[in-house]
Symmetry: C2
Subunit: 271 residues, 2 copies
């Protein structure tokens, strides 16, 4: 019997849905198992050790589905738990930080790259490390934006408050010779329009979500593991918190990507 | 003694220098060994079997330098020889077709993608295959442009003749709902400006060269094989034809990427 091995995507909550959506769009043959830890979101302000423990618990749960790859679709968890998870499983584990870093290195001409993210992500210095691992001469300007995730979770994408918050948080970045800015949090793509208006057209915005989906494609192809199925896969979504609220947001965010695709919604027992 | 394993890049001639240049820019710590088969260029009009034989000869030559990865930086050779070379060596072999295909899938919104290349590349259907392997619903419009490589090799990037040739070859593509066009030949990035003007701003041009460098970075990182050297590598360039002509073109094309980097120029004995 042919059993299609899924791609497991985990996140602190709903932010990782931006990665899931891009995987569905770029790799429509792949089956996705998504876990949103909505009961314990957000991870951003938590101590690193706690985030590592939560991530381990979710991976232990997802591994029963025999995924061919694990995606840590949360920048905070990638920053502190990626290497730990890599050492615990024997399948590829992809975070959202390196794909964004690689895309920025590809695009920058000035060599000055901006990064915005949660406090946990920025404090870890993970983007700076990933960028400097690739290039000897790159200059990195980082800024924690703790007020952005609450805006997104309230669906507040383009209000006056949103523009004001963005202006106060990152308005000063335009003083640098930066030509790209990494949206180092999977929630931020929802603020793309407002952020672009504040930083100006000279600075290109890089979405970790899009770039991660691209890297998943590259690595699965390199390993000869791309799905060849001719039938649409049935995705499975798990959330640790209120399942109805998760389903409502997910259906709204995933939009057309799940219109034609069968989806199963479940509540796991972990933690 | 620490010996840095190089990335081997091979091409039918000088076209693959666009890939080498992007690898140098995106991965400045990596040592490159480049082989340009200038004595037997172009590969485009040759029978597939001959291209396979030439590619094997070059790989047999380059393998003595113990590369960690082989890049077939020629679309024609990728189209007909990639799988053959993959089955003969036990290191990753990357072609220029899949990276371009992945980037196009990532960018397209309309689902209609254009591909231009040499007669050999287009006849092989390799891009169409790569694109359809990823997506069930993508529409691909391909066009062979045999007159473009001679324009580039004569340094004829923006003359009236160039615009006229491009207009006659691909002017009709704008009738399709295409939103990206893959430059499926490593020579074509030199014609970017003229092609963009002919096809219009609605169609984004995708350079295989840039995307291949990005994929090299992804795969080396996944395998934990990125170079960590703090010293600039010494690149080596081989050409089977006139070494002086090759060196002149390479210095011109690589420009600032080799200003600070030591380079060794050599003539190999193969074929």
């Amino acid at each position: 019997m042919f059993v299609q091995q899924p791609i497991a995507i985990l996140d602190s909550g709903v932010g990782g849905l931006t990665v899931a959506k891009e995987v569905m769009r770029q790799l429509p043959r792949e089956k996705i198992i998504y876990f949103g830890d909505t009961a314990r979101t957000p991870y951003g302000p938590r101590p690193a050790q706690e985030v590592v423990r939560f991530t381990r618990e979710i991976v232990d749960y997802l591994i029963q589905f025999r995924p061919k790859m694990i995606i840590i679709a949360c920048n905070t968890a990638t920053a502190v738990a990626l290497e730990d998870i890599r050492s615990r499983v024997d399948i590829p584990v992809i975070g959202v930080i390196n794909p964004g870093a690689r895309a920025a290195i590809k695009r920058t001409q000035t060599g000055c790259i901006g990064v915005i993210g949660t406090e946990g992500t920025i404090r870890s210095g993970a983007y700076e490390l990933a960028l400097k691992e690739l290039s000897l001469s790159v200059r990195v300007i980082s800024e924690a934006c703790p007020l952005f995730v609450p805006l997104v979770e309230r669906g507040n994408f383009r209000s006056n408050e949103t523009y004001e918050t963005i202006r106060q948080s990152i308005g000063h970045l335009s003083q640098y010779p930066m030509d790209c800015l990494i949206l180092g949090c999977t929630h931020y793509p929802f603020l793309t329009e407002a952020i672009a208006e504040v930083v100006g057209s000279r600075i290109e915005l890089i979405s970790s979500a899009d770039e991660t989906a691209r890297d998943i494609s590259t690595i699965l192809h390199d390993k000869g593991q791309l799905s060849r199925g001719e039938v649409l896969p049935i995705h499975q979504f798990f959330s640790s918190g209120d399942p109805l609220m998760f389903k409502t947001i997910a259906q709204q965010w995933l939009g057309e990507q799940i219109e034609l695709t069968p989806v199963v919604w479940q509540v796991p027992t972990i933690g």
